[in-house]
């Protein structure tokens, strides 16, 4: 399963290297959404992608941001996926 995630990780790395530096620093969280998603995919495979999407959604004009690492454990209920 892990090798299937490689293209996603590559896209994130590409974004970090070639696109993100062209934008002003903008993520309200630490680590930034891209780093978060990268870590999440490394740890939770395909689930990490959803966690990353949810993180980007949470990083909106109405949130206050803050420090938010990928959780070390997940409660696997159908609703709690990705919800911290």
């Amino acid at each position: 399963m892990k090798f299937l995630m490689a293209p996603f990780l590559l896209i994130i790395r590409g974004w970090q290297k070639f696109i993100a530096p062209g934008l002003a620093p903008r993520c309200k969280y630490y680590p930034s959404c891209s780093h978060y998603t990268y870590d999440a995919i490394k740890r939770y495979n395909i689930l990490g992608i959803f966690m990353g999407v949810w993180r980007v959604v949470r990083c909106n004009p109405f949130s206050h941001g803050g420090v938010d690492y990928v959780p070390t454990s997940l409660k696997l209920g159908p609703i709690k996926i990705g919800a911290r």
Partner: protein, 302 residues
């Protein structure tokens, strides 16, 4: 029915509406009417995004009050970027203010851009494809409409027309120039000096500053004139918006902010420029001596 269909309706709907409104002025088949309908689309979207922008600027202004604490953090974790960012984020959260824009403004515009691209691309097909609220007649009319003599549906690569080539090159140059100046303006004047430790990122930003025009040149040759108009207008708007903010309401600690501070002092609006400046300029002694409040708060943070 595709997922983007509603967006086609919105994008084409706005275009057709503006076209109808402007037709009596410039003429129904006029290129000016159709070009302006694309420009109006940009103006509408960017106007809708202004409240977000104002919100962000307001929280940036709120940072002035926090800058002594920010300085403390930066001094304390000089050699640990990660810890430094973490503490800064904690500080923002604690004070419920966050100067960072989040990805939303970009993400909100991306689907609209793609929708416009598809709509205009459809018009560029032979025979013109009518998407969204476009009727076949309107699509044909839009396809023939000219911007500076180039049909708005033609691309650099797809057209043998010399005028189209010249106009697309002009628009791509305009896109590159506006992106370049916007980015440079921000880097030189708009950003707080706090980031000097992060040389790697600055280096990367510099490379991209010169890389973006190249990327535009490569991708832009596939874009219809109409999309290029949209993109150029967006860039101009971004530039103007940023120019206004950097002049009137710069981020605390940035070179533009220091300039404004000096100007205000010259006008007698602020009594002591060095006092205000020392918060932003590297000078760890002064804030410590003058301000007690940040010290206390920092202890709470621990």
């Amino acid at each position: 029915m595709g997922i983007l269909d509603p967006l086609y309706w919105v994008v084409s709907g706005v275009m057709v509406f503006i076209h109808r409104a402007l037709s009596p002025v410039f003429g129904e088949t006029s290129g000016v009417t159709w070009s302006l309908s694309i420009v109006a689309l940009v103006i509408l979207i960017r106007t809708l995004l202004i409240p977000l922008f104002v919100k962000q600027i307001k929280s940036q202004r709120a940072l002035t009050a926090l800058s002594p604490e920010m300085k403390k953090i930066q001094q304390k974790y000089k050699d640990d970027r990660q810890k430094q960012s973490e503490e800064l984020m904690k500080l923002y959260k604690q004070h419920k203010t966050n100067p960072l824009a989040s990805c939303f403004p970009i993400l909100a515009q991306a689907p609209i851009f793609f929708a416009l691209f598809t709509v205009l691309n459809g018009i560029g097909k032979n025979p013109p494809q009518a998407r969204g609220t476009f009727t076949p007649e309107l699509a044909e009319q839009a396809a023939a409409a000219k911007f500076l003599g180039a049909p708005i549906s033609e691309t650099f690569l797809g057209s043998p027309n010399t005028t189209t080539k010249i106009v697309t090159v002009f628009l791509i140059a305009l896109m590159s120039l506006t992106t370049f100046t916007t980015q440079r303006q921000l880097m030189v004047k708009g950003m707080p000096k706090l980031d000097t430790t992060n040389n790697m990122m600055l280096q990367q930003q510099k490379i991209l500053l010169y890389l973006f025009p190249v990327i535009f040149a490569v991708t832009g040759v596939n874009f219809p004139v109409g999309v290029l108009i949209y993109w150029s207008t967006t860039n101009l708007w971004t530039w103007g918006q940023q120019y206004y903010v950097i002049k009137r309401n710069p981020a605390p600690g940035s070179p533009a902010w220091e300039e404004l501070q000096k100007k205000k002092a010259a006008k007698g609006l602020i009594d002591d420029v060095t006092n205000n400046g020392s918060v932003a300029v590297e000078d760890p002694e002064k804030p410590k001596g003058q301000r007690n409040q940040p010290k206390k708060k920092k202890k709470k943070n621990k």
